[in-house]
């Protein structure tokens, strides 16, 4: 029997209570024990010391680092929290590690992009919120460093999201934008389960080996006319589950299984 902490912050719990319950139930089934905790700064010193793993559903990188120093297995790692919640950092970090990504620059350096059309997005945003297409002559609407600019990719409205458990992609979802820009479900994108081609699988596997184990998502899209050459759009630290459940995938069970494997290693 393993003691696992399922760690939500109140905000994330309010948004995803159903998934928290599913995770709690599946972890309890698979590992024998699961402690569902709401952890805020005041709760940190009172955690039990015999925890073997934590599954964290909070974007707070400070919390992640705190837990990672005290619990042997923390999903996801602080590095994933840092990269998954900072698009500029993730893009530059992945590029430095040899991963194909669109060139991302702070919006105030938009002139560095050799692109007639570009996309402006919040550096720490999620769900496609406030993503906007701009033309080359536009000044950045938000010139401060919390906004980034990327070249507009013609096929960026069709994204393959690889859901990763451990260090392997286990489910692939194609997300097709309905607004021609952001392939986010929260912006109305449609989804369907797909099998990846070899190149997409290879790319995501390379990213997983860099990022290490966890439950997260890697978004890729085709950047050539034939869409057979893939680049990484972003890494999602807190991969959701709503779309998968809609397609009949019991992702909570798969996460519990993956965490159990990690603990057995």
């Amino acid at each position: 029997m393993s003691r696992v902490l399922l760690c939500y912050d109140p905000w994330m719990l309010a948004r995803n209570l159903w998934f928290a319950r599913a995770l709690r139930d599946r972890l309890a089934e698979r590992l024998g024990s699961c402690e569902l905790s709401l952890v805020g700064p005041g709760d940190l010193p009172t955690l039990p010391t015999d925890l073997e793993a934590a599954l964290v559903r909070s974007r707070d990188v400070t919390l992640r680092r705190w837990l990672a120093r005290r619990i042997p297995v923390v999903w996801n790692s602080p590095a994933l929290a840092a990269l998954g919640n900072d698009k500029l950092l993730a893009s530059q970090w992945l590029r430095r590690h040899g991963v194909a990504v669109p060139t991302a620059v702070p919006a105030w350096l938009r002139h560095r992009l050799d692109a007639d059309t570009w996309v402006e997005k919040p550096r720490h945003g999620h769900g496609g919120q406030d993503v906007a297409r701009r033309s080359g002559s536009d000044a950045p609407a938000r010139p401060l460093d919390h906004w980034i600019a990327e070249p507009f990719v013609a096929h960026g409205d069709r994204v393959l999201r690889a859901y990763v458990i451990g260090t392997s992609p286990v489910v692939w979802l194609e997300r097709q934008a309905t607004d021609g820009l952001a392939a986010n479900v929260t912006r109305g994108a449609t989804t369907r389960l797909v099998d990846p081609d070899e190149r997409a699988l290879e790319l995501v596997s390379a990213v997983c080996s860099l990022l290490g184990p966890g439950y997260y998502a890697v978004d890729v899209f085709g950047h050539s006319d034939t869409c057979d050459d893939w680049i990484v759009n972003e890494v999602e630290d807190l991969a959701g589950a709503r779309s998968l459940v809609a397609h009949g995938v019991d992702i909570a069970r798969a996460v519990a299984e993956g965490l159990a494997h990690e603990l057995e290693r």
Binding site: P45, T46, P48, T49, R69, A79, A82, Q92, R96, W108
Partner: protein
Amino acid sequence: MHLTVPPGASDVDVLIVANLGLGPAFRANASLYLAAAQRHAASVGVLNLASDAVDLTRPPRARFALILDKDASTAEALRSNGTAVANSPEAILACDDKRRTGALLSAAGVATPHTVLLPPLYPKQAMDLRALEEAVGALGLPLVVKEAKGSFGSQVHLVETMEDLTDIATSLADKRLLAQEFIRSSRGRDRRLHVVDGEVVAAMERRSAHDFRANLSAGGVGFPYVPSEPERELAIEAARAVGAVNAGVDLLIDSHDRGALVCEVNANAHIWRLSAISGVDVAHEVVSRLLVTR
């Protein structure tokens, strides 16, 4: 039995190492880094070099130490105890000695003003005037004389005549000097690019109407600046050449054929003015980038 938050500055995620006894500018600088670290790390400590002694048999230990001072010895002590440090002692030493900075930049092929190392003398030794004549022959007049150690533009002298050069070089003979070509087109004007882990994260142009130096602390005024691609690459190369992962790189502007030239690299550059002028949260950039995999 319960976990407890680690006490004090020992065994923390991030340790800010700074001398807080040097006035408000130094405290403002450290405060920005401290605030950024608290947004990214679970526990943050401060080692105040103005008041905290470091016992070398048990130096403080942290996951990561951000060194905001020129004290390479403390950086070395922390590193020896398993703490990842930025900047490294080697980078701090390289940047704290303008002669060494110049040698490293030159060896790496980084564009700099033409530089001559004047004889490194010891007390009681006198400057050989032939060395000064050689420097003038190579660099022309006016030229710039810099002491190897100095900050905020102090210990940098514009020399117009051979007589002035002789006076300065004689009076400062034991200071370890270098002579540098004076870039006229950059009089009272330079560009500060802040480089973190191989990326330029912020920049500003500094101008002074009254001084050949453009340092803000010497009366210069800063303006937001978007660096060109060659300037970015030059700044990144310069930081790499001295081994600094958190560096303020000063570029001079040669309006003739050479473009930008590296004036100096600061391993403990103040960021509070740059942050205000550029609009970039430089401390956040430094901390988030250097902490990613720690």
